[in-house]
């Protein structure tokens, strides 16, 4: 390498930058652990789960003002929902420090509450959970596009709906959910309730 470059401010800057990146990545990795880690199961009695109609759910949302809210609509009968659920649980931990609240709403019939609770416990779902009130039609009340599960919604800190991620014409991938959360966080940065 030419002597002039080795001693130039530019080379010092490049070396510092590379070192800094190394330090930051190392710090980041040890702070988060592997993203592939699954949350351990929790006791069924520790699962926060209640039946709610749309109004009850909106009251819950109103109590989350100031936070971005990610809602995962799922059901015990929905296989793709269960494939995405560990990612939702993981997101609740990953995004907690960034002002994001995760909540899951099961579209199962309330007579399946025990099964719903057992599943949530096995998944380590430490966040708030609801079962949608079955009447009037919950898929209409909760605006599940195309009546199709899985389905996600994102609300901003002011309570306004920011994203609807439906599965009626396209399969939902984990990256779609992450991207949406990141976008909403960026759009609402600095915004209050």
């Amino acid at each position: 390498m030419p002597k002039a470059f080795a001693r130039s401010p530019l080379s010092a800057a490049i070396v510092s930058a590379v070192l800094a990146c190394g330090v930051v990545s190392w710090a980041g990795c040890s702070a988060q652990g592997t993203s592939a880690e699954r949350a351990g199961p929790i006791a069924a009695s520790d699962v926060r789960l209640s039946v709610a109609d749309k109004a009850g759910f909106e009251a819950f949302l109103a109590r989350q003002r100031g936070k971005v809210v990610l809602v995962d609509f799922w059901a015990t009968w929905c296989v793709p929902c269960k494939e995405l659920f560990p990612h939702t649980v993981d997101a609740s931990r990953r995004y907690a420090g960034r002002g994001v609240v995760v909540v899951a709403v099961s579209m199962d019939d309330p007579d399946k509450e025990a099964e719903v609770r057992e599943y949530l416990a096995s998944q380590g779902a430490t966040f708030e959970n609801f079962i949608a009130q079955p009447a009037p039609d919950p898929f209409t009340a909760f605006e599940i596009s195309g009546g199709s599960l899985p389905h996600f919604k994102l609300y901003g800190p002011d309570g306004a709906i920011r994203r609807t991620i439906g599965s009626e014409s396209k399969s939902i991938r984990e990256a779609d959910v992450d991207q949406a959360v990141e976008e909403v966080l960026a759009e609402t940065a600095g915004a209050g309730p």
Binding site: W77, C78, V79, P80, M107, D109, P134, D137, F139, T140, I144, S145, G146, G147, S148, L149, P150, T164, G166, S167, E168, S169, K170, S171, I172
Partner: protein, 200 residues
């Protein structure tokens, strides 16, 4: 600096347009009264090819987008067989179409299911998924009833509860009864619900 700002504004406008367009794409594809899309030569579990035109004599054709793996779709299989049995002599033809791209939903598995459940209607596979796209099928099961002119006269769910013992509102039956009477169904469209279709 003005050059940069113009680009930013243009990009923002384009992004907004895309967002609005995607919202419209999510709305129902067909309206009540639309001419139903035709499918041609879809392979059935009986080893033959099937087209909408095969049922020229039927007063009503009930198209169901369904599949093997979705528990909601499975929960409706017996009801669908019963419905076809009850309405065969009234000139109603049920056709079940599977557009899912999933090993569990391929033709060989469809044959097994049709046999074990005693399907009394054609169960056909659309590998292109075109019929699903053209009907705007969003989940399995998703029901459409076509009148004698093959106009869409009903779309949505079969009834109001996945559990057959709890189903009270028999929307599909009521709609088909009206269509057979030459009347418009009181409830021509209901909210379908089920597993999202496995698109390519």
């Amino acid at each position: 600096m003005t050059g940069h700002r113009n680009v930013v504004v243009a990009l923002a406008a384009l992004a907004m347009l895309a967002l609005v367009a995607s919202c419209y794409a999510a709305d129902a594809k067909l309206k009540i009264g639309d001419k139903a899309p035709e499918w041609k030569d879809l392979p059935g579990v009986d080893g033959k090819d099937h087209s909408l035109g095969d049922y020229g004599d039927a007063k009503v054709v009930v198209v169901v987008f369904t599949c093997n793996h979705c528990p909601v779709a499975v929960a409706y299989e017996d009801r669908l067989v019963e419905f076809q049995k009850d309405y065969k002599d009234k000139g109603v033809q049920v056709v079940a179409i599977n557009v899912n791209n999933l090993p569990a939903d391929k033709l060989d598995k469809m044959k097994e299911r049709a046999e074990s459940k005693g399907f009394n209607f054609p169960y056909v596979y659309d590998e292109s998924q075109k019929s699903g796209r053209e009907y705007g099928a969003t989940c399995t099961p998703h029901f459409f009833a076509l009148d004698k002119d093959r106009k869409v006269a009903y779309m949505g769910a079969m009834d109001d509860n996945n559990n057959p013992d709890k189903a009270k509102e028999k929307w599909l039956r009521d709609a088909v009864d009206s269509i057979l009477d030459g009347k418009e169904p009181a409830k021509a469209s209901t909210q379908q619900r089920g597993c999202g279709i496995k698109w390519d």
